[in-house]
Amino acid sequence: MAIKRPSGRGFDEARKMDAKVGIIPNADGSAMFSFGDTIAIAAVYGPRQLHPQHMQNPQTGILRVNYDLLSFSVADRKKPGPSRRSQEISKVTEWALLPVLNLEGFPNTVVDVQIYILQADAGTRTAGINAASMALAHAGIPMKNLVCSVAVGKLDTEVAVDPDNAEEHFEGGEGHTDMPIAKIGNTDEFTLLQLDGKIPPEKFTDALNMGNKVCSEIYEIQKNALKKFTEVEA
């Protein structure tokens, strides 16, 4: 292989992952998920009455996601409040989670998912989705499965999973490509796909496959964290 990852990891090796459920007592469901130095926390409130009223849907409950970075979670302080970036990530996270939820039993209500990044080292949206998915399960929202998410990177011509911030700034050759994906646990269904960079169409499948492998690992971590929590409770 021509290049080595700046982090020294293997190309198909994600950072050390950690997950914990039940971290925010006030919330109906909550969870933490981390990829190395990237830490996301998520809280679920609801189903609860939806205001403003005109947003209510008499046929189903709705999902409302808010994703943001805590102001000190990045090197250059992030101005508090929504940005176009955070609004976009909130929306794609909503789309990433909705396919596993069944909110039809809760008409006119909202399920609020709050995702905040405590510490950012790339992969914040994917960590946020993993945390949110566990928090929704913890809240007892009817779900058909969990959602697992990871970013696949490419450094020059080498596909490399779960890039950190230093790797995201890789320059040279084809530069760096970042492709966050999310999938319904152990299925073939993609619920999120974004991409920035340069990837030849023929390499696209390799990149998806590398993401698939790590998503299966994440699935186990999520299930274990949920199991561990229920055991403690019981």
Binding site: D76, R84, Q87, E88, K91, V92, E94, W95, L98, P99, E174, M179, I184, D188, E189, F190, T191, L192, L193, Q194, L195, D196, G197, K198, I199, P200, P201, E202, F204, T205, L208, N212
Partner: protein, 272 residues
């Protein structure tokens, strides 16, 4: 005409037609509408283009400004893409703070252009660390009949190629009355375009009309260009809550280069 909701009847009819690879306007599911480009449609803009694709009509204008560079990139100019979904263009667009679609469109165009490397930002420096050009691309639909993102991508490329830098005063400020013949520094061979694939049931459809878009359940946008003679996917965003299977994504990645080359042939005929 300005009914707001797709009826179940339309959706079911489209579903049956898509199963037979048919559409209301006679195209096959992967057939793109032909487009026309008009360059220089607004003479106060440094560059502009208007794209008509079926009844979809988009104008894109480029303005150039000077200013101090970002602290983390003193040796680079800036690119800014913005725009709005004007209530002028559709009964579905409303005034007021931008809705998600109005945020997404310029962000998708920004990423497509930036990641392709089409604009050589390093050549937009006037005085390093002090004064650099900012390329501002503004996108406005005039009439929305579907595939706005794809039409806007053609408009963005055409408008940026059409742009000429304004002159500078002795102090390095812009003098908009002084025109030059200098184009924006571009990597000439790099021209990205976007293609948005929609999904109804398990059928994929490219370049839908508004009616088809509204009947569909899923969508995914890809930006693609050619870099060192190789096709490169530069940007991607899946929208809406319907999932895509890996086989579908692979199918899209496979046909993208052909769709790109077809559109590029036409686009280049306008630019030369």
């Amino acid at each position: 005409m300005s009914s707001m909701q797709t009826s179940n009847l339309t959706r079911e009819t489209l579903r049956r037609m898509f199963d037979k690879n048919k559409r209301f306007d006679g195209r096959g599911l992967m057939d793109v509408r032909d487009f026309q480009i008009e360059l220089g449609v607004s003479n106060k803009a440094e560059g502009s283009a208007r794209v008509r694709m079926g009844k979809t009509d988009v104008v894109v204008g480029v303005k150039m400004q000077t200013g101090t560079p970002y602290p983390d990139s003193p040796d680079k100019g800036n690119l800014m893409v913005s725009g709005d979904l004007l209530p002028l263009a559709s009964p579905r667009f409303e005034s007021g703070p931008p809705k998600f679609d109005a945020i997404e469109l310029p962000r998708l165009m920004d990423r497509m252009i930036r990641e392709s490397g089409m604009i050589d930002l390093k050549k937009l420096v006037i005085t390093e660390g002090e004064n650099v050009w900012t390329v501002i691309v503004d996108i406005y639909p005039i009439n929305d009949d579907g595939s706005l993102i794809d039409a806007a991508s053609i408009g963005c490329i055409a408008a940026v190629h059409n742009a000429r830098l304004p002159g500078l005063t002795d102090k390095g400020q812009v003098d908009y009355d002084k025109k030059t013949d200098n184009p924006i520094p571009l990597s000439k061979e790099i021209m990205p375009l976007s293609f948005t694939f929609f999904k109804l049931g398990d059928k994929l459809v490219l370049n839908p009309t508004r009616e088809e878009e509204e009947a569909c359940e899923g969508k995914i946008t890809f930006g693609i260009s050619k870099w060192n003679g190789k096709h490169m996917i530069n940007s991607c965003q899946k929208g809406w809550e319907t999932t895509f299977k890996q086989a579908e994504l692979e199918e899209i990645a496979k046909i993208l280069p052909d769709k790109y080359e077809d559109a590029m042939k036409k686009l280049k005929s306008y630019l030369n």
